[in-house]
């Protein structure tokens, strides 16, 4: 079609042309997968809930109504009430904020630290690599939840400390991922070319190697948010994470476990929230992997 347009000069064509960067292309691939988009919708729903929910559900999350203890779902209490007569819906909405921020913040922290360590280990190799990799190996030798419990017991129970613990246990996963990616990228000719141009190491690392090794990290990061939410819930359930009045989902499960038979809604809805959020992140992570995997490209 363009051969019929008279070429006055380059500008005409330049305006028509849309630049298709690698990220834009990935987004186009991502949109094709219905399942991935469904995952993203679930996540968006909970994110919006976390941001705007507290304005919608204004009634106090910790407001106890002893007269309405353990009420089943009704027009007044959509998801019922718990053993203190607190509205479960309000608590779940506020819990979304806690769970999502724990998930995102801990993953962001471990991605930043893990990427930095991984990129240094992968690029410089030799003893730097040996030291960093062995530390990762040691950390990975422990079951992650056990390590998290150990870290929380040292730092003391609480939501912030749970977040820190979850961030720490995820560092080696990202570190190893980035390291292996850097190992392959640093042999690519454009890295050689960057060196030949006379670029400094820092520029090569952060402007060339890092952006090119981000794709698997984004995938892993999305999936890790799901795990982090689960881990936070697990720590909350064990009483090591969120403390008493905080409406954290895992904590809510733990508090209501004795009412499983008499008032199942007290457990079902927090559990369902955890499940849906984790499912959303997993679906989106899978979709991202398909969209970003270089092997799927031509």
């Amino acid at each position: 079609m363009s051969e019929f347009t008279p070429k006055m000069d380059g500008i005409v064509e330049a305006e028509i042309e849309r630049t298709t960067g690698p990220w834009r292309e990935a987004w186009r691939n991502f949109r094709k997968s219905k399942v991935a988009v469904a995952g993203m919708v679930i996540i968006l729903f909970f994110v919006l809930l976390a941001i705007f929910g507290p304005f919608i559900a204004k009634e106090g999350i910790n407001q106890q109504m002893p007269a309405d203890r353990l009420q089943p779902p009704s027009a007044e209490y959509w998801l019922g009430t718990d053993d203190f007569g607190r509205d479960i819906l309000s608590r779940i909405i506020h819990g979304a904020r806690i769970s999502l921020s724990v998930g995102f913040l801990s993953v962001i922290a471990s991605v930043v630290v893990g990427s930095f360590l991984g990129i240094i280990a992968g690029y410089y190799g030799r003893w730097t690599d040996t030291i960093i990799s062995r530390i990762f190996d040691i950390m990975l030798a422990f079951p992650s939840i056990l390590l998290a419990i150990a870290i929380v017991s040292v730092l003391g129970p609480g939501l912030e400390n749970a977040l820190i613990a979850i961030a720490i246990i995820n560092v080696p996963n990202f570190g190893r991922l980035i390291r292996s990616k850097v190992l392959s990228i640093k042999e690519d000719e454009y890295i050689m070319a960057a060196k030949a141009i006379g670029m400094k190491d820092a520029r090569i690392l952060f402007s060339h190697i890092l952006p090119n090794s981000m794709a698997p990290v984004i995938v892993q990061g999305t999936l890790a948010v799901a795990t982090a939410i689960l881990e936070a819930a697990a720590l909350g359930f064990l009483g090591l994470g969120a403390q008493a009045p905080q409406p954290e989902w895992g904590k809510m499960l733990a508090d209501s476990k004795s009412y499983l038979q008499s008032a199942p809604w007290t457990m079902i809805f927090p559990g369902l929230s955890i499940m849906l959020t984790v499912l959303g992140f997993n679906l989106m992570g899978d979709g991202l992997r398909d969209a970003l995997d270089p092997k799927m490209k031509n």
Binding site: E17, G21, E189, M192, A193, I197, G198, P211
Partner: protein
């Protein structure tokens, strides 16, 4: 063309240690570049040819200190590159640039062409963004692309176009020397000619000096003023292009040249076929490394390593066939027959 050497390489060596076992004990060395000496005059093109694995690409990379030389001097423009600090070397790289073999791998897929071309300028301290952009457009036109291509990404170009971009990138800092590491071997033959002609035009325009590494003798002949032939990490013959192609001295060069196809179906020529494979560079043959495959092998070849020695004006060869001592030996042998 002036005749001052811009680059003078003496006794350059690059050994890669071979490590084995749990503790990485060094059990030997691969002599990728073994005692190589040559020079390149300003404004000329030196072709380096050889089979794959002969060390020609390694030579190019060692010259730029992308690989650290094991030993030797690299005198460039009055400085010994081999003894510069990393930081000094980094700054010197604006005068020596490189064009890479694989145009698909040598451009960062996540950067636009504009960014790729701008980067050498940023790195070497051209701070004015407007000026950089202007220069990017200018050089895109110079290598035969359009200024608006700056907005595109590498995957939107063909191999030949990408190689033009690679060449433009090498030109951005106004270098004196360009090391081209098999710049056309990944391209179609028709595109090869275009890129070679572009390189020749640029050489005239910017008074560039090239080191042109290739395995295709036809391509090298087209572009080179002088040609060096490498075999197993050593230079076996260096001569003016015409002399080397007209009157090759080293048996290896003769064999290589006889393998070049001639565009005439009726032309019958004697083809020298060298047998066997290139020996393992970790365990090279004693004496002359070529003796395992040489049709003119003599006793001395297995024992003494021949040195590169000038035979006629500017034509050097490392072969016992041309050393006087051997001449005498042969005469003696002939006499006794």
């Amino acid at each position: 063309m002036s005749t001052t050497p811009l680059l003078k390489v003496e006794n350059l060596k690059k050994y890669f240690p071979v490590k084995k076992g749990m503790f990485g004990k060094t059990v030997g060395y691969v002599k990728a570049v073994d005692d190589v000496s040559f020079f390149v005059n300003e404004g000329e093109t030196l072709g380096i040819v050889g089979e794959s694995g002969c060390g020609k690409s390694t030579t190019g990379r060692v010259l730029m200190r992308l690989l650290e030389p094991t030993d030797g001097q690299i005198e460039f423009d009055g400085k010994d590159l081999a003894s510069l600090s990393q930081e000094e070397m980094r700054k010197t790289r604006r005068d020596i640039q490189m064009v890479f073999q694989d145009p698909y791998a040598s451009l960062n897929p996540r950067h636009t062409i504009g960014k790729i071309l701008e980067e050498p300028l940023i790195v070497h301290g051209v701070s004015d963004a407007k000026e950089r952009k202007k220069k990017v457009r200018e050089f895109l036109e110079i290598v035969g692309l359009n200024a608006y291509h700056a907005k595109r990404y590498p995957h939107q170009f063909s191999g030949g176009q990408r190689q033009r971009i690679g060449i433009a990138r090498a030109l951005m800092t106004n270098p004196k020397l360009i090391i081209a590491d098999e710049p056309v071997s990944a391209l179609d033959v028709s595109i090869q000619a275009q890129v070679l002609n572009l390189m020749q035009d640029l050489q005239k325009e910017f008074n560039l000096t090239y080191i042109f590494i290739a395995h295709d003798l036809g391509v090298v002949r087209h572009i080179s003023d002088r040609v060096a032939v490498m075999y197993l990490g050593k230079m076996v013959e260096v001569a003016d292009s015409e002399q080397l192609y007209g009157k090759p001295l080293h048996p290896y060069t003769q064999a290589l040249l006889s393998a070049v196809p001639v565009p005439d179906p009726d032309y019958q020529k004697e083809q020298i076929i060298i047998e066997g494979d290139i020996p393992n560079p970790a365990d090279p043959p004693t004496g002359c490394t070529f003796h395992t495959r040489c049709p003119f092998k003599m006793d001395i070849c297995t024992k003494v390593t021949p040195q590169l020695a000038e035979q006629t004006n500017g034509h050097s060869v490392a072969c016992h066939l041309y050393t006087t001592q051997v001449d005498n030996d042969i005469k003696q042998l002939e006499g006794s027959l």
